[in-house]
Structure formats: C-alpha cells, structure tokens
C-alpha cells in the first residue's frame, strides 16, 4: 500500500471523473492532514460537490485512488465509507422529512455509530447533539417543518451522530445570516478541537476565510491553486476564475 503517511488522513491521487462526454474532475491530487480544516473554493460548476460525492462513494471515479487513514476506499459503497469514519452534509439539505428532528439524529446513531437500537445511550447522545446545534426546542418537530438554517444544523448533528473522524460540509454557509455564519464558524472550530478533520466547500468565501487552514481553488474540474487563504485569494488565477465572477455579480 504505502499510502499511509503519519499525519495524512485523506489522500486523493489522480482522481478524474467523467460524465459521458464531460470531464467533471481532472486529475485531482489532494492530501488532508489530521485535524486540518481545508476549504474547497471555486465558481459554480467547478466540481466541488462532485469531489465530495467521489470521496463519499456516491460517484465512482473513472481513474485515480482515494486512501482514508491508509486504506484504499476508492470503490467502496457509501455505507462502508460512513463506517470508516467519513460523514457529510449536502449542498441542498436532505433530512428525512417525515421523521422528527430527534429521529433523524437517531438514524445516524443506530446505523452509523452502531449504537444499539432503542438504547438509552443513543437517546442521551441525541440530546447532546441537539444541544450542540441548538435544536433542542424542536426535537419532536418533523424535519420538513424546520427552516433552511435549522435543516443545515440538523444535517451537521446527524452527520456527527455517525461518530466520524472526517467531516465534509457542503456549502454549509449558503443562505445563512452573518450572525449564523459566525456561529457556524465557532461550531467548526469546536469540532476541530474535538479531534475532527474537516473539508468544506464555500461558494461565497464568507465562512472559509474565517476558519480554514488551507484553501484549494478548483476551476473547471482542476486544482488551480492551493495554499494559505491569503495567498490563494490574492492569486491572479483565482481572482480571474472566481473573484472575477463575484465582482460581476456585485456590479
């Protein structure tokens, strides 16, 4: 194998994804270290969500390998990847709409973390997670009745319920108020302190610039720049590919 390096938790090597004629990701090499917060940025259609889908086993790469904690997980199905300790949220929240907030979280505890069905320990952990994302008053409400921001927080709690070591947050700041973004940044920092490694995507850079150790800029399925946030945000390539688009949106 030889893929395991002491500090590297996730290692993508030469990942390409093709959908029929279109290339969604082209030869992506990416390493994420333990307890690092890495943000993938890029304009719409750059391949951020596809990258997440490949890591989580929802899209199979046409070439390349993915190693997680030294294990080759390239063609594994999503539930096995979950059991290895990878959890994610979705760009458009996908709660179980008819289940209550608590039941949504219990699903992660029973199936992801393997807590015994109906055990008091699972119930207690669900309460803790609800507390963490500030949803305690809404425990018995069906998830479909939550607001967008609440559904995003529910997804984070549900992902954490699977007891992950690596958490992928897809556009977690989209549609949130500045205050909510600040709270999200605090939550992300807390999670890192608890030992988690995080990979985020953020189209508008509102959150990533606050919390990430490293930015990876994607454009048209390729990594065009990688490094410290300041460094990446000042790169001419990134500005033309990404910030250029944002300036156009503003004007």
């Amino acid at each position: 194998m030889g893929a395991k390096t002491p500090n590297i938790l996730l290692k993508l090597a030469g990942i390409s994804v093709e959908f029929q004629e279109r290339v969604a990701l082209r030869h992506i090499d990416l390493n994420v270290e333990q307890q690092e917060i890495v943000a993938v940025i890029g304009p719409n259609g750059a391949g951020k969500t596809t990258l997440f889908n490949v890591i989580c086993g929802q899209v199979k790469p046409s070439s390349g390998t993915i190693h997680f904690d030294g294990r080759d997980i390239t063609r594994w199905s999503s539930h096995r990847i979950c059991h290895q300790g990878i959890a994610r949220t979705f760009q458009i929240a996908r709660p179980f709409p008819q289940m209550s907030t608590r039941q949504n979280i219990l699903m992660g505890l029973w199936f992801g973390a393997g807590k015994p069905y109906g055990s008091p320990a699972a119930q207690a952990r669900a309460e803790e997670l609800l507390e963490l994302v500030d949803l305690s008053p809404k425990v018995d409400l069906p998830a479909k009745e939550l607001t967008l921001s609440e559904q995003r927080r529910l997804e984070i709690a549900r992902a954490l319920a699977t007891n992950p070591r690596f958490l992928l947050l897809d556009e977690v700041a989209a549609g949130l108020s500045p205050h909510a973004i600040k709270e999200m940044a605090e939550l992300i920092k807390t999670l890192r302190q608890q030992g988690l490694t995080l990979l985020l995507t953020d189209h508008f850079l509102t959150l990533t610039s606050k919390v990430s150790d490293r930015l990876v800029a994607l454009d048209q399925g390729e990594i065009i720049m990688e490094g410290k946030p300041d460094q990446v945000l000042q790169s001419a390539d990134v500005i033309s590919a990404y910030l250029g688009e944002r300036n156009q949106e503003r004007s």
């Binding site: 989580c56 929802q58 199905s77 999503s78 994610r88 289940m99 992801g112 069905y117 549900r158 699977t162």
Partner: protein
C-alpha cells in the same frame, strides 16, 4: 417507548380478533360467511406481504409473478412428488423468493415509475413459460385436482382442512395473523427504520451507514417469499390453478388497492383495507353490479388518493412518539 397500551388501535384490533375467533360459534354453518371471510383473510395476508416491499418506497405492480410461481411451484411439487401440501407451500414460497432474487439483480437500481413498469412486465415471463411448457405444467389447461390440505389432529379432534369451510377459515386467520406479526416486527424494528430511511431519503440513508442494496434486497426476498407462500396456500385451497388466474393483474393490483385504502404505514393498514373492502365488494357490490363490480376498486383508489392519502387507518392512528 411506543404508546400502545390503551390506544384505540389496539383495542380495535383485540375486539376484531375476538370477533373473528368466536363468530363461527354464533353463525354455525353459514357457508357464505366462511367463504367471504376466508378470502378476506387471504387478500389481507397478500396485502401485508406486498406492503413489506412497498415500505421501501418502491411500488411493485408485479407481485402476481411471485404468487403464480408459488402456486405452480407448490402444486407441481405436490403433483409429481406427492408431498404433503404443508411442505410444498414452503417450496412455493422459495420459488417466489428465487424470482425475487432475479428482480434484485435485474432491477435493483430502478426506482419509482421505472421500477413499477419493470415489475409489471416481469409477470409475463413466467406466465408465458408456464402457458407453453405443456409437458410439465399442463399449459393453459392448468393444474387440476391439486391435493387439499390434509387433516390436522389436535388431541382426539381431527380438523378436516381439505373439506371443512370452518377449518379453512381458521387456517387463513392463523396465516394472516402470522404475516401480520412479521409485518409488525418489520415496521417496529431497527430494520423498519432503515427501510423508512430509504423511503424518505435514500442518499442520506446510505451516508448514515444504511446498506441500501442489502436492505432493499432482503426486504424484497421476504416479501416475495411470503407472496409465494400465499400462492401455494391458494393452489391447495382451490384445487385448481391456471396461468391467467394466478398471474393476473388482479393479484398484483388488489394488494395495492387494499393497502392504500387501509393505510400504507400502519401495522394493520393493509389488513384493515382487506377487512373493509373485500366483504363490501363480495356481499354488496357483487350482487348489485355482477359484471362491473371491480370498478369499485378503481373508484376507491382514486377517492383514497384524493381525500385521505395516508389511508383510512390514519384516522384512528395516535401520534407515535419516542420518549
């Protein structure tokens, strides 16, 4: 905990069960009652078996394939090997499950309308084969003179399941109760939650550790097995089967109508649908409209979908909460 101790659903179920156990003592030898109720229990069992897979969110329009194969598997084994029907119905269930396994391989990745259409089409394959393999299956002539269930001895009493309508009534009541119990355990267990997660949001379920393919496949096998078992029981009760009878659209569609009417997500929903609709159809509508009485089912499905999409059982359902 799920509140069940004093819920109206439990009281209603107990009352109905006591009624069905003791009513033969009051009615003595009312042949119509036995015939209608035996078939009611039979369709209730079929609807419960069908609903197991429908709970995953995929609606099957082809359960007649499992039913017909179960009926033929059981009848032919009994015909050629002269085994007891008690053994051959189990074989019928297994034949259904084998065809279910083929479904998981062939349409495992289909969802929604495409799945439903594929299942509808898949009934034709065994039907055409059985219809044309005359040397083995007797083709369109069907299998006649299928051995009935042998008598069961309980102490000094011999229960003639082959002839007595009352005995058949109790046999089907027991079969239905067993399938109801399986349906209940299925819904209330951790497995049931996995199935519910698949139904509500499959991608999220897989990312939370639910093995999507395994859960769907095993659920389908169980549903196919029980439907095949019902097919076997039908063959030995009726003594006659032919391809248009056991592979009919009616067999595929009726469980759907009964379940939608009774309540898809309720433990007793499919059975409740059968207990209301089948006697109503046979006793009332059959005498009023001897030819077009099955229009009733079409009308009922439309009215149900429009006015109470969760079935009439949801009226009595209490809100179930976890503490």
């Amino acid at each position: 905990m799920i509140r069940t101790a004093t819920s109206p659903a439990v009281l209603g179920f107990t009352a109905a069960l006591l009624f069905f156990i003791f009513s033969p003592f009051l009615l003595q030898d009312n042949a119509v009652y036995y015939r209608v109720m035996t078939m009611t229990f039979f369709y209730g069992a079929l609807a419960l078996a069908w609903n197991l897979y429908a709970l995953t969110g995929n609606i099957s329009l082809g359960h007649a394939a499992f039913f017909g194969l179960g009926a033929y598997g059981s009848a032919l084994l009994s015909h050629y090997w002269h085994l007891s029907p008690w053994a051959t119905v189990l074989f019928g269930g297994m034949v259904g499950a084998v065809y279910g396994l083929l479904w998981t391989v062939a349409f495992g990745c289909l969802r929604g309308a495409r799945f439903a259409l594929a299942t509808l089409a898949s009934v034709e394959i065994p039907r055409v084969i059985i219809d044309n393999w005359e040397s083995f299956t007797f083709g369109s002539l069907g299998v006649v003179g299928i051995t009935g269930f042998s008598a069961v001895r309980v102490g000094s009493v011999s229960i003639a399941l082959g002839e007595s309508l009352k005995a058949q009534y109790y046999l089907l009541l027991c079969c239905t109760l067993v399938i109801l119990l399986i349906h209940r355990q299925f819904i209330k267990s951790k497995w049931g939650w996995a199935v519910r997660a698949l139904r509500e949001e499959e991608t999220a379920a897989s990312m939370l550790g639910v093995n999507v393919h395994f859960t769907r496949s095993v659920t389908l096998l169980l549903s196919a097995f029980l439907t095949g078992l019902c097919g076997g029981v039908y063959a030995h009760l009726m003594g006659l089967i032919e391809p248009p009878l056991v592979f009919s659209l009616h067999i595929s569609a009726l469980p759907l109508v009964l379940t939608m009417f009774g309540g898809r997500y309720l433990v007793c929903g499919p059975l409740l649908g059968a207990l209301i609709l089948y006697p109503l159809d046979q006793v009332l509508f059959h005498s009023l409209l001897p030819v077009g009485h099955s229009i009733l089912y079409g009308l009922i499905i439309i009215v149900t979908l429009l006015f109470f999409p969760h079935g009439i059982g949801s009226w009595v359902q209490r809100r179930r909460t976890f503490s």
